[in-house]
Amino acid sequence: MWLIDSSIGRKFIMSITGAFLVLFLIFHSLMNIVVIISPEGYNAICEFLGANWYAVVGTIVLAAGFVIHIVYALYLTLQNMRARGKQRYDVSENQKSVEWSSQNMFVLGVIVLGFLVLHFYNFWYKMQFAELTGIQTGLFDPANGAAYVSDLFSSWIYCVVYIVWLVALWFHLTHGVWSALHTLGWNNKTWMPRVKMISNIVSTIVILMFMSIPVYYLFS
């Protein structure tokens, strides 16, 4: 199967799952900023999603996207280390034009994943999980997302932790978005600066939307 056996096939899977996760992040960040504008509105969205069948299906598809992205990330990274060989250079200097994030995608991914586990415990476990199983896992009603958000971010430590997480994700995305387009073949000499610009703009907007929430609670 060429999606597993060939390098470009594997990269194709990586880029498709990555792009899918980016689309999810755009949706997620748009949904989140509602909590600043109107906590009631935010709770209405939480209520609407909750444990309804479409939200559960969405969660399963999303989880599959994550799992495939991570499994392929491991596979590609291991293969790349093997291709590099055991004997490393004694002196190696980075090229100025090479983005730092492009050489550290796996490390950035692992950081993102680590915080994601925490994020699941902070919200998903107390909201969708509680609603699905009927077990009371948090302090508030499972659909009262706004209460969970303001409770968590009443601690400045959590605000800082989430901001650090988002910075790592920003680095992953600034390379990831253009790299995914490049992998899909959507690039040429004219488009290279544009594609990189699009990548920077998309990642920055998404991350700023996410970040506005801990920042808002930090200063209010």
Binding site: S7, R82, G85, Y89, S97, Q103, S179, L184, N188, K189
Partner: protein, 251 residues
């Protein structure tokens, strides 16, 4: 007046493919700044021969930047720090008096060391053999107006064709990927009418061979383009991806 400098060389010495290698330090005094890097190594080898020692093995041929035979990872860069130059075009005036210069062979699993600084780049030849050609004779150079080709396309194909297959791309890549090389070879032919006919088959065959030989997966870092002595652009990699994906989805 000839300006001269003194440098210390730290060179990777390895007796054979299976032998254990190590760095050996050599002092080179009064090196003319007008000499090329390879000439400086020639002087070192003459000295070693006179001392009845084994000379340093390194690859070279044309010494004018067109054959792709020279290699060497010099002070952390393939073909040295200068951009758009091959090792044979690198001159000693680019180094400072008293500088220590570390010289290593290409390090990539698909390029095993043969001896000292010489590596086996046969893998690139095997990739070419898998499809980097046009199967029939297309005759002599046609008249310029016989098959009209736009200047943009002609330039793009020519840029890809400047690849000399030296291996600096895979040597520079943290993933040991040969994508820039394969992309250049696929592009130069896929862009022109003579090569277009077999474009799909070629892309599939060359990528399959590249993977089989153990080169890594490209993560679009761009280190290859930065180190390429011919500055072949990674946008050719986007074209290779396009050609390959198109071919696979058609099957």
């Amino acid at each position: 007046m000839d300006k001269t400098i003194n440098v210390t060389l730290k060179i990777w010495r390895q007796a054979g493919p299976k032998a254990k290698g190590e760095f050996i330090t050599y002092k080179m005094d009064n090196v003319s700044t007008d000499s090329s890097f390879l000439e400086m190594l020639d002087v070192l080898n003459e000295k070693l021969v006179k001392e009845h020692k084994e000379p340093v093995a390194f690859d070279h041929d044309c010494r004018e930047g067109i054959c792709g035979m020279c290699s060497l990872y010099i002070n952390g860069h393939p073909h040295g720090k200068d951009s758009e130059t091959t090792t044979c075009q690198l001159h000693m005036r680019r180094f400072k008096d008293g500088e220590t210069i570390t010289v290593e062979p290409w390090r990539s699993a698909a390029f095993p060391v043969i001896k000292d600084l010489m590596v086996d780049r046969g893998a690139y030849d095997k990739i070419i053999q898998a499809g980097g050609y046009v199967s029939i004779s297309t005759g002599g150079v046609p008249d310029a107006n016989a098959i009209p080709i736009s200047k943009d396309i002609a330039d793009e194909a020519m840029d890809a064709a400047t690849c000399i297959g030296c291996g600096a791309c895979a040597a520079a890549c943290k993933n040991g990927s040969a994508m820039l090389f394969v992309a250049a070879k696929v592009s130069q032919l896929a862009l022109l009418p003579q090569g277009k006919v077999e474009a799909a088959r070629r892309a599939k065959a060359m990528v399959a061979k590249m993977d089989e030989l153990g080169f890594g997966n490209c993560t679009n870092t761009g280190a290859c383009e930065a180190e390429c002595p011919k500055a072949v652009s990674i946008t050719h990699i986007a074209r290779l991806n396009r050609e390959f994906l198109k071919a696979k989805f058609k099957d």
